[in-house]
């Protein structure tokens, strides 16, 4: 999260207003550029500059000073105040300002907002939602825009706005503590949300970070030294030490692990429990067993094997293959599997995913998607890759997340058994579309393939078979290689 110092400019000076009141002014500095440079030096990664005179008059007044700041400090700036025409917006966006902040214009001129978003992109347009007594306020806080919070959210969605700056005006400049609930409404609605107004302490800042805010704009607290930008920014900088996982996959038929190419021509690899133990002891993060039983007898043997594996290894494992009912899932979980992976049944009876997630929890429901390229997109296949559907693979993944899947296992039929690298393009599209963990599968034939998939996509795990079974690459040595390529792995 960003801790964003505010520089409010009035009559060329750096000032603060008390609760937006133009008659209650405190002047902090006569040189806003010096102030901006100081904030950048202290570790701010984004500056927030408001042309107060501009906001009141309805057109930029301090534009020259602001552009001087934008071009003379090393960090990006976002600018607001009086930007109500295409010309004034463009003047900022084409002259070194990273983002502009719109407010009144949104209420009064929707066409303009739409045009700016279309032309400059949603990442460069911020809408300031100033709420006073539950209403969207406009004109430099002196009038009310007559929209409730819920109405404002609907309007912003309609205008394709992604970034909002939420201020509870009654809190601003008063150091009385922020309005977390108001900000949360916008975060929950899916906006990249910056909070402003009354953010005065480190604990407040940390609280906004935990709530998923994009940034907090701080004013008085940094000018009067009740908050230190350097330590605040350090405390809320994004930290994530979750490792990428390597998952050896074992196809099991009856009592043997087998491996095939394009789901046909099977070869025996070894005993499931022995292999499970071997992989868990040599650095695998997780294991997946796919039951490719052809008979009921083989299926029963598989469940017994699940029990044996659960007793033998101390890492999680997933089982899949042939699951078509809640009862199948229950039996495998009771046998000791941590997660179940559901394939064709997820396509043929999506309701099963909803029921399974409700019954057993999303955390143990993995949906396995078999995708094959068709023109510019990918379609879902079922029944072990033997039958095409007309379902788009990316849309299918989004639907599965909505139904309650906790994780996706993405197989590429074009790459399966080919050792020609993962389907980076497909995995990129899917990881961008969903917000649950994604396991890359199919095509990982060399350590380089694994490095590529982790470096080039946002997958959480990668599955491998022949690289571990035949090439004798240990998960631990593959991880050493990945670590050398700056992939975060558990070693």
């Amino acid at each position: 999260m960003f801790v964003i110092p505010a520089i409010d400019i009035k009559d060329g000076k750096c000032v603060r207003l008390f609760q937006g009141d133009f008659d209650k002014v405190t002047t902090y500095s006569n040189d806003p550029i010096l102030v901006a440079k100081k904030f950048a030096r202290l570790g701010a990664k984004l500056l927030h500059i408001i042309d107060l005179d501009g906001a009141k008059k309805g057109f930029p007044v301090s534009q020259q000073i602001i552009l001087d700041i934008a071009n003379r400090v090393s960090v990006p700036v976002q600018v607001g105040g009086g930007i109500r025409s295409y010309k004034s917006a463009k003047a900022y966006l084409c002259s070194g300002v990273e983002r502009i902040i719109l407010s009144t214009a949104v209420v009064k001129n929707r066409k303009l907002v739409k045009r700016l978003v279309a032309e400059f992109g949603d990442s460069r347009i911020v809408v300031a939602v100033d709420i006073k007594n539950g209403q969207f306020a406009i004109d430099g806080w002196t009038k009310s825009g007559g929209k409730s919070v819920v109405q404002s959210i609907a309007l912003l969605k309609e205008l394709s706005i992604k970034n909002v700056l939420v201020t509870d005006i009654s809190k601003d400049g008063a150091l009385g503590g922020p309005n977390f609930g108001l900000t949360q409404q916008f975060i929950d609605a899916g906006f990249q949300t910056m909070a402003a107004g009354g953010v005065s302490t480190l604990p407040d800042t940390i609280e906004f970070n935990k709530r998923g805010a994009y940034g907090v704009v701080v004013g008085k607290a940094v000018y009067e030294n009740s908050m230190d930008i350097t330590s605040a920014q350090a405390a809320v900088s994004y930290k994530n030490t979750l490792a990428k996982r390597l998952i050896p996959c074992l196809d099991v038929r009856g009592t043997k692990v087998v491996k095939g190419t394009n789901f046909t021509r099977l070869r025996e690899v070894g005993d499931p429990v022995t292999l499970a133990k071997k992989y868990s002891d040599s650095g695998a993060d997780e294991l997946t067993f796919l039951d490719i039983a052809a008979t009921l007898e083989e299926r029963k043997t598989f469940r017994e094997m699940v029990t044996n594996i659960a007793g033998a290894i101390n890492i999680p494992f997933t089982v899949g293959g042939g699951i078509t009912s809640l009862d199948d899932i229950r039996q495998l979980l009771q046998a000791g599997a941590d997660k179940v992976s559901i394939g064709s049944a997820a396509v043929l009876q999506p309701g099963l995913i909803r029921q399974a997630a409700a019954y057993f929890g999303s955390q143990c429901i993995v949906v396995s998607v078999d995708a094959k390229r068709k023109g510019d997109s990918w379609v879902v296949y079922i029944k072990g890759g033997s039958e095409a559907t007309n379902i788009d693979a990316v849309n299918f993944c989004v639907d599965m997340e909505d139904l309650g899947a906790g994780e996706l296992l993405v197989n590429s039929l074009d790459r399966d058994g080919m050792n020609s690298g993962f389907d980076i393009e497909l995995l990129r599209l899917i990881t961008q579309a969903v917000n649950i963990p994604v396991i890359a599968s199919s095509g990982g034939g060399s350590p380089e393939d694994f490095a590529d998939v982790f470096q080039q996509t946002n997958v959480d795990a990668a599955l491998g078979a022949s690289i571990f079974h035949y090439q004798n690459v240990k998960p631990s040595s593959l991880k050493t290689y990945l670590a050398s390529k700056n992939v975060a792995v558990r070693i």
Partner: protein, 198 residues
Amino acid sequence: MIAIIDYKAGNTGSVQNALNRLGVVSVITADPSKIKSSSGVIFPGQGRAGAAMNQLKNTGLDKLIPKLTQPFLGICLGMQLLAEVSDEDNVDCLNVISGECRKFPALLKTPQLGWNKVMFNKRSPLIRGIASGQYFYFLNSYYFDAEQMYVAGTASYGFDFPAVVAKDNFFAVQFHPEKSANPGEQLLKNFCEISKCL
């Protein structure tokens, strides 16, 4: 004997498997007298807070657990239920350790799934012999935002969140030690030793 509390919230079998590998005798039970007479109690769990609390209330375990005096280990949901309240299902929990359970913000993938590095910031017999910075296996969408004085270890998922808490005889971990390879095994071994079962 270690009692593994059975409140229909999953993975009791995995915990028992892990204890079996250590050669520790355990029983999976919801029987208050068996739980009271055990030398250590493990409270595992997965699934939802609301359903789990209902189950505990139905069996009277919600009253029993806070009064236990033997070593107690909450795992995952079993840690979260020690809180005062949980955002999940907006439910009152067991109120053993101050703090509330909160959901990870939407900008992070949820659940947090996989191996995360746990940094210890306090000494505790539970983590004896385990280096700070070892990886443990997590699977959670909520975390226990416990009062700082009870936090013994943290992991980072967007920000630092409590991974280990300890208060008197109550220990709890957000990760799954039974699925966390050697460091997890060591932690369970430590707990069995604290419980004088090893």
